[in-house]
């Protein structure tokens, strides 16, 4: 007859066998498929082994981290990785195999190597980055033109998050008094819903892309863990494809997530994001001031030149007018003196001519001729001009300047001189 055991006995055999076979600690690589901490503080997990390219789980086991150990490891893990232990995470843990007759097989986790997880996350991140680079989309959002005045802002955030509050306070309370227009697109910023929620918000904004100048994705302001939700390929891809610049302020001091890397500009915190926007405004304003000063300066110069030109017109006009005036005056003055001198000359000449006529008349006047000794001889009332007009014994009258003489012709003689003239 085969031995008959109670279940308890069998379980104990199994337990002993297991203990004998696996007395040590084993460092194990596994993926968390479930994790839950209950009120007692103990953490219960389900670990699986599922290679990335396979659909089906190849191995599975339950695990536990007892409460005091869990407190310590949780803090260690989170401070090292910046992430909290969660589903989907690959971990390297120090385990001991335990078998309990009531609860069955489980692993007790006593330690964890955060470096492994960090490495895994980094690897995953690298893969996402490489994929985006291969597709040629990695820098697409960064190549967009950033608006000079980023006034209308689409905010992807959780309204309840402290980060959103900080961002809005900074923006509205800016010391320059700039006014921004913001619209909040309520989004889950951590947990498994993050991917779907962020992409959905991005799509909603893209539908109204003409209403906004820039998109900001913000969270944190206290919570600096679980950045790896943003190492997600889909989220990053959507950001690269986005038609307007995307700024991120997802609150991580140390690392950049892939979303940060593909964004137009990653800022460290929501506050820094707000400050960046305000700075852009301030730069635009000072650029405007420069331009306006430049315009004023140019205008002033141009006006000065015109003014100088008008001044020179004025003095030219002055000069020309004076010259013309002088010239006119001189002309009229000359007329006046010419009139006087010409008139007197004219009169003098007329008078001269008259004087000459007068003299001639005087000389020719018969009275003056008689006075000079010439006489006029007449015979029977006719004036005698030639000796041939008289004969001997003729009685002739001779007119003198003062009287008449009557005489008889005695003799006549011809002048030799006169013959020549005949």
């Amino acid at each position: 007859m085969t031995e008959r055991l109670t279940l308890t006995e069998l379980q104990l055999i199994i337990k002993d066998s297991l203990y004998m076979a696996l007395p040590d600690f084993y460092w194990v690589i596994a993926e968390i498929s479930e994790i839950k901490a209950n009120t007692s503080g103990h953490c219960y997990l389900e670990l699986i082994d599922k290679p990335a390219d396979e659909k089906h789980v190849r191995a599975r086991i339950k695990a536990v981290i007892w409460n005091n150990r869990y407190r310590f490891l949780k803090a260690l893990f989170e401070s090292s990785t910046g992430e909290s232990l969660r589903e989907g995470m690959k971990i390297l843990v120090k385990t001991k195999v335990e078998y309990h007759e009531l609860y069955g097989l489980s692993l007790v986790i006593s330690d964890i190597d955060p470096a492994f997880t960090i490495g895994e996350m980094a690897l995953k991140r690298q893969m996402v980055i490489r994929k985006l680079e291969e597709e040629g989309v990695f820098s697409m959002n960064r190549e967009l033109e950033f608006p000079m005045v980023p006034r209308r802002i689409a905010v992807i955030s959780s309204g309840k998050a402290a980060g959103y509050g900080d961002f809005m306070n900074h923006l509205t309370g800016n010391s320059f008094g700039y006014i921004f227009y913001t619209a909040l697109f309520e989004t889950a910023m951590q947990g498994t819903e993050t991917e779907e929620s962020v992409i959905s918000s991005l799509n909603r904004i893209a539908d109204h892309a003409d209403l906004f100048d820039v998109v900001v994705i913000i969270r944190g302001g206290g919570s600096q863990t679980d950045l790896s939700w943003f190492d997600n390929y889909n989220i990053a891809y959507h950001v690269t494809q986005f038609p307007i610049p995307v700024l991120t302020g997802i609150g991580h001091e140390k690392d950049l997530s892939v979303t940060d890397m593909v964004a137009f500009k990653p800022l460290k915190t929501p506050t820094a994001t707000a400050d960046y926007l305000i700075e852009c405004f301030a730069n635009a304003e000072s650029r405007l001031n420069e331009i306006s000063t430049g315009i004023m300066e140019n205008t002033r110069q141009i006006l000065e030149e015109w003014s100088r030109m008008v001044e020179s017109f004025l003095s030219n006009l002055n000069l020309a007018t004076r010259l013309m005036s002088d010239s006119n005056r001189k002309t009229v003055e000359r007329f006046r003196s010419d009139l006087v001198s010409f008139t007197y000359n004219f009169l003098k000449r007329i008078k001269n001519i008259c004087g000459v006529h007068e003299n001639t008349l005087a000389i020719l006047n018969p009275e003056n001729v008689l006075r000079r000794g010439y006489t006029i001889t007449s015979l029977n009332g006719k004036i005698v001009k030639s000796i041939r007009q008289v004969a001997g014994d003729d009685v002739i009258n001779t007119q003198f300047s003062d009287g008449k003489v009557t005489s008889k012709v005695i003799e006549k003689t011809k002048d030799k001189r006169l013959k020549k003239q005949e």
Binding site: L314, T321, S325, N328, R329, R336, D338, L339, F342, F346
Partner: protein
């Protein structure tokens, strides 16, 4: 006083004509006194016109400051 508007330029031409005739001796003695009187009148009017123009321009320039 001529009722027509005084033309400085026309006056100059007329004065020149009169002067030319007197200088060349072609002037009729009968008309001499008349023409001299005319020329003298014109000259007076020219001088008056120059004076008022200069005053007006002075005023304009003063306005310009």
């Amino acid at each position: 006083m001529a009722k027509k508007e005084f033309s400085f330029n026309k006056a100059i031409v007329e004065i020149e004509d009169i002067l030319r005739d007197i200088e060349s001796g072609e002037m009729d003695v009968d008309k001499l006194a008349l023409n001299v009187k005319r020329a003298s009148e014109l000259i007076k009017q020219c001088q008056k016109k120059l004076r008022t123009t200069e005053e007006e321009i002075s005023g304009i320039f003063k306005d310009l400051g």
